[in-house]
Symmetry: C2
Subunit: 344 residues, 2 copies
DNA sequence: CTGAAAGCGCTTACAG
DNA sequence: CTGAAAGCGCTTACAG
């Protein structure tokens, strides 16, 4: 069992001062080559590693970034985390993960922890509850403490911090145009989230792209469930293509098609705003709007870096472009699932 | 903008020594009530928070646990992380997340980092590549440095550390018995992983539970693909129920049933060793073996605690029991997906 | 070229 | 009851 060796112990073994050892290991030009070599040799022999806690205390930083995730079971966030982690690795930063479980209270707790100087910066996607209640004091508290904050994905909030997310309206504009470029004209949209901001944006993107073609919209209302509205679109209106603004509407559409014996993609093309992995595992696979979660994670960390360096508050909204509207595929290719993505 | 206040600054403002302030804030009985109150009042006013880095240096610990995850896009691991995080919160520990992406090299890098004293303990599920090459030196290095290690999920390796995982053989034994209890007799098994340890265990569990009933096994071989073997089981052998040892065989089975117009669950019952969320989103939904990832995460962190306290190496195999063989449901219930799990 | 000293922010045994 | 001192492990300006 090797126990960790310290600078002091090394210096004793070498009969030099602690400062000399430290400088030698940092390739300081003050140190003679001979001494430097002796020091390094012994350090390697004992596998010396500087104690990161001590280094951080000395440098008044923590070397860590706090990442607050609302719901890790959502593969979107899992993949954002993956992007953040990869990027952090390049900068020798550690990622401390906090999961709010979409709870405002938990989010407050976390932010409270973070104000104590646990991390050098915070990347956060606020919880649903936070958005609903529009309570952002705990986030302002972070800023008060001069902790750089980047808001990712859920960027529709009024906080003077960097923001990284996707352009909801454009994504649906593009998806609609994608259908139209294929010569389709009876294009509908289904939404279980038409009442919230992002739902409205997506529907609006669809409408803009339809120009003066007739629009078909399915959403739950007092006159019927979302499912009955989708049935109407598919059966009565006979739309050829359907955009789904969210996971729920996409799944319902799949089930309706299954029940009504409507073949996907032959009779009906679907593009859903759903996660890549789910889209591909459905039978049949569905096209989806790629949100590039991993790239989003990378950008989020990048934003923080810049912010932290300049120490000015940049109200920057970084938008991920969304090139890949994926074509429908009914074929299952176990070993090349991801390639479906490029088949347009 | 509040800037962080230190003990020293507080002590200056109060005209007492740093030690007095520190003791007062820790409710030391050495301090007079009057002083204690003054100190606490000012501390609250300035929102004093001890610098965690300094505290950790003083206490020679880091307050953090390193968690190594092979693939965060796998919702199983995402949910394990969720369990770990929840448990860590209870113990005021921070979770530093590392993602190996199933790469041995990356895993080595991570372990190298961890040996420098970044964390108080490590929870790791080794990468596929690591398992394949059976290279565990980097893990032994952690133990050499006296860092408590817990291996979770992928526990089939020879390392003197706590291990937390599921009992693969029993899970399939139970699943088979579950079918038999329903009066089914023509029960088959499909596997794309029959050549690896866990695959063998699962198949063996199935075989033991079948007693002397005829067994039907589909696996890829020189005489045909897995898909053709599954077709044979479903069409020629007409099995009534099929166990799938892995995700790939489950998806292929679904597609075969779809092509052959075999109704699930009417004509064919399936239990797959697949993740809850995917199982439920498939059309139709599939039954699955619940691996209790979140509970596993909780146990993993618990194991570390014990290990770390005793500082002896316990070769303990902690097994999660698997009660929930879930019944097949073709119905989609957007708002109560999770309840499917309890419908047996 | 080397080393003593100060200091990052805290805790705690010890002296008064 | 209070405070000076040592120390966690490191870095770095400064003196020699």
């Amino acid at each position: 069992m090797k126990s960790k060796i310290t600078l002091k112990e090394l210096s004793k073994l070498l009969n030099v001062s602690v400062s000399t050892v430290s400088k030698a290991l940092h390739d300081s030009p003050e140190i003679s080559p001979k001494t430097a070599e002796r020091v390094k040799e012994l350090a390697k022999l004992h596998n010396y590693r500087p104690n990161p806690v001590a280094v951080n205390l000395k440098k008044s930083k923590t070397g860590t970034i706090g990442v607050v995730i609302p719901n890790i079971s959502n593969s979107f966030f899992a993949r954002v985390l993956s992007g953040i982690e990869a990027q952090a690795q390049l900068h020798d930063q550690q990622i401390i993960t906090y999961i709010s479980n979409e709870s405002l209270d938990r989010e407050k707790q976390i932010c409270d922890l973070l104000t104590s100087g646990m991390v050098d910066g915070v990347l956060i996607a606020v919880s649903e509850e936070t958005q609903k209640k529009a309570e952002y004091d705990h986030l302002f508290a972070l800023l008060d403490y001069d902790i750089p904050v980047v808001v990712y994905d859920r960027i529709n909030l009024n906080l003077p911090a960097d923001k990284v997310g996707v352009d909801d309206e454009k994504s649906f504009y593009d998806a609609t145009k994608f259908f139209r470029a294929k010569g389709l004209e009876r294009i509908g949209i289904a939404s279980a989230i038409h009442h919230v901001g992002i739902g409205k944006l997506r529907i609006s993107g669809y409408q803009k792209a339809m120009d003066n073609l007739p629009v078909f919209t399915a959403r739950s209302s007092s006159e019927g469930t979302l499912k009955s509205k989708i049935e109407k679109l598919l059966v009565t209106e006979k739309v050829e293509a359907l955009l789904c603004t969210d996971f729920e509407s996409a799944i319902i559409t799949t089930r309706v098609a299954y029940e009504q014996n409507i073949k996907i993609p032959e009779d009906l093309k679907i593009i859903g705003y759903i996660n890549k992995d789910i889209a591909e595992y459905l039978t049949p696979s569905l096209s989806y709007i790629e949100q590039h979660p991993s790239e989003l994670g990378v950008k989020a960390l990048g934003a923080k870096k810049k912010y932290s360096q300049s120490l000015t508050i940049i109200k920057k909204l970084s938008v991920i472009k969304q090139p890949s509207c994926v074509c429908i595929s009914t074929e299952y290719k176990p070993k090349s699932l991801t390639t479906i993505c490029s088949v347009v």
